[in-house]
């Protein structure tokens, strides 16, 4: 496994990111052990929307 490419994300976060075309490598995880959680993805999407406005 490419060491730099190991993005830890919860299955739910991955699902939501995929549906919203979000690149997980741009998100900092706050979940257990730094895993990207659903909340992280949602916040990231909200922030992006806010910036666009």
């Amino acid at each position: 496994k490419n060491q730099e490419k190991f993005i830890k994300a919860t299955p739910l976060a991955r699902k939501i990111a995929k549906e919203n075309n979000v690149d997980l490598s741009l998100i900092a995880g706050t979940g257990p052990g730094g895993r990207i959680t659903e909340e992280d993805v949602r916040k990231y999407i909200e922030n992006k929307l806010n910036v666009k406005k």
């Binding site: 919860t10 299955p11 739910l12 976060a13 699902k15 939501i16 979940g31 895993r35």
Partner: protein
């Protein structure tokens, strides 16, 4: 003497935080007035499980004949059983003592009283001593709650502690309270020959469990000959010859039942004595703490049963680790989304996450439920134990696992996978896609996830 951390109480909340902090390099003191290991090891989790295993072996000997194992004159030697329980408790207690020592924790075997948020006075039978601390972790645990009905103090009206150390198996027992402790005790004594009645005020036993679990365990207990009276209140207990007459009000009217022992198992209340002189914010369930286990006093943390949240040993231990980490300058948050609960009846019960009705309150009808019965599990059949089922609750938008509820063989071990699933925000799809070994009981979790997705294999 001055410490980085002083822990008050040597139960699972206290001794785990002390060991963890010591491993992280802190100078740690721990004060315990009674037995290391606390309620859990000496009067709770461990002794109940030793006795319930005894009850389980006894019951499974009936089953043994089906598997071709014949035995005659099967009987219980209660003294041996009690001795085994005591010896397990002693071994583990010695283990905790050795662990504390090996990690360099200074253990004070006396009663602590906080004079202020840095000074702890310790009372011994013959003297006292003051120690000081940068940070204090309160972990003084809980005691059985009492309800002051007339007769509550008669001899033979006992708490769980005495129920674990009875000198003989009582002919009959009435258990007040159909919560975890009441149901476990009823199952132990009901399996080894006592005539047991469980009385619960609420409409169902195990009121915190999913409703399907409550109704299944009620049926199971009844099939063992244990009487279960819900919606029933105990009015009073009177002495009647050698027995105790318990007067109750059932939904069908007043009744009385004569028994040898009355076990009061109506909950536990926090033990706040050690710090009653400090100005710590409390609410009706105990010490108020934030997600970092901090009390209203900056350098004072509280963990375990005194925080009144779950009253589970594993929650106490995790809170202990969180408190110790934060006392040492980390920033660790306690997360209660995936707290498993286990009930060591026969069959076992375990659950984690939301019940179906809790999930409905949040998600309305946007939930899905998957179920799988143990009678369709090859492993359950080879073990001769096929009562019960697995039930999984998920949201219907993402199929995220919200709750898993199990009654059946191995439930208390199967729940570990479910807790990890919830903790890692797993969906039913991944649970279904994960290869589960055959033939194991854990396949039922996979099948319930498949059922939730509409494609169970071993179910019509």
């Amino acid at each position: 003497m001055h410490y980085d951390i002083v822990v008050i109480g040597g139960g699972p909340g206290g001794y785990v935080s002390a060991i963890y902090a010591a491993k992280k390099g802190a100078r740690v003191g721990l004060v315990e007035k009674r037995d290391l290991g606390g309620t859990c090891l000496n009067r709770g989790c461990i002794p109940t499980k030793a006795l319930s295993h005894c009850a389980q072996i006894y019951q499974s000997l009936g089953n043994a004949k089906n598997f071709g194992i014949l035995a005659e004159n099967v009987k219980i030697d209660w003294q041996l059983a009690q001795g085994q329980k005591d010896s397990i408790v002693r071994t583990l207690g010695k283990g905790v003592e050795n662990l504390l020592k090996a990690n360099g924790v200074s253990v004070f075997r006396g009663e602590a009283k906080l004079e202020d948020e840095r000074r702890i006075r310790i009372y011994y039978s013959g003297g006292q001593q003051v120690i000081t601390a940068e940070n204090i972790i309160l972990a003084t645990g809980s005691k059985p709650a009492v309800i002051p009905f007339p007769g509550h103090d008669l001899p033979g009206v006992i708490t769980s502690e005495e129920a674990l150390a009875l000198s003989k198996i009582p002919d009959s027992m009435l258990v007040i309270g159909g919560g975890v402790i009441g149901v476990e005790m009823a199952c132990i004594y009901g399996s080894i020959g006592s005539n047991v009645t469980v009385v619960e005020l609420l409409p169902r036993i195990l009121p915190r469990a999913d409703e399907e679990i409550s109704s299944e365990i009620k049926k199971v207990l009844q099939s063992k000959g244990i009487k279960v009276l819900t919606g029933t209140r105990v009015e009073s207990v009177e002495k009647e010859k050698d027995l105790l007459k318990v007067n109750i009000i059932t939904p069908d009217g007043p009744r009385s039942i004569a028994v040898e022992k009355v076990l009061v198992a109506v909950g536990r209340k926090p033990d706040l004595e050690a710090f009653e002189d400090l100005n710590i914010d409390l609410d009706k369930s105990g010490v108020i703490v934030d997600d970092f286990m901090r009390t209203s006093l900056k350098n004072v943390y509280a963990v375990g049963d005194i925080t009144g949240k779950f009253q589970l040993a594993h929650v106490a231990a995790h809170q202990g680790i969180v408190a110790a980490s934060n006392a040492l300058g980390e920033n660790k948050r306690m997360d209660y989304r995936a707290v498993p609960s286990c009930i060591f009846t026969n069959p076992e019960i375990a659950y984690v996450g939301l019940t179906e009705s809790e999930a409905r309150e949040i998600y309305g009808d946007d939930i899905r439920v998957g179920r799988f019965p143990f009678v369709a599990s090859g492993r359950a059949l080879t073990l001769g134990e096929s009562l019960g089922f697995v039930k999984i609750v998920a949201d219907s938008r993402w199929n995220e696992i919200l709750g898993v509820h199990i009654i059946g063989p191995g439930a208390t071990e199967l729940i570990a996978e479910a807790a990890l699933a919830i903790r890692l925000e797993c969906t039913a799809q991944e649970l279904a896609d994960t290869i589960h070994a055959h033939p194991t009981l854990s396949e039922t979790i996979m099948e319930a996830a498949m059922d939730l997705l509409g494609t169970p294999i071993h179910k019509m």
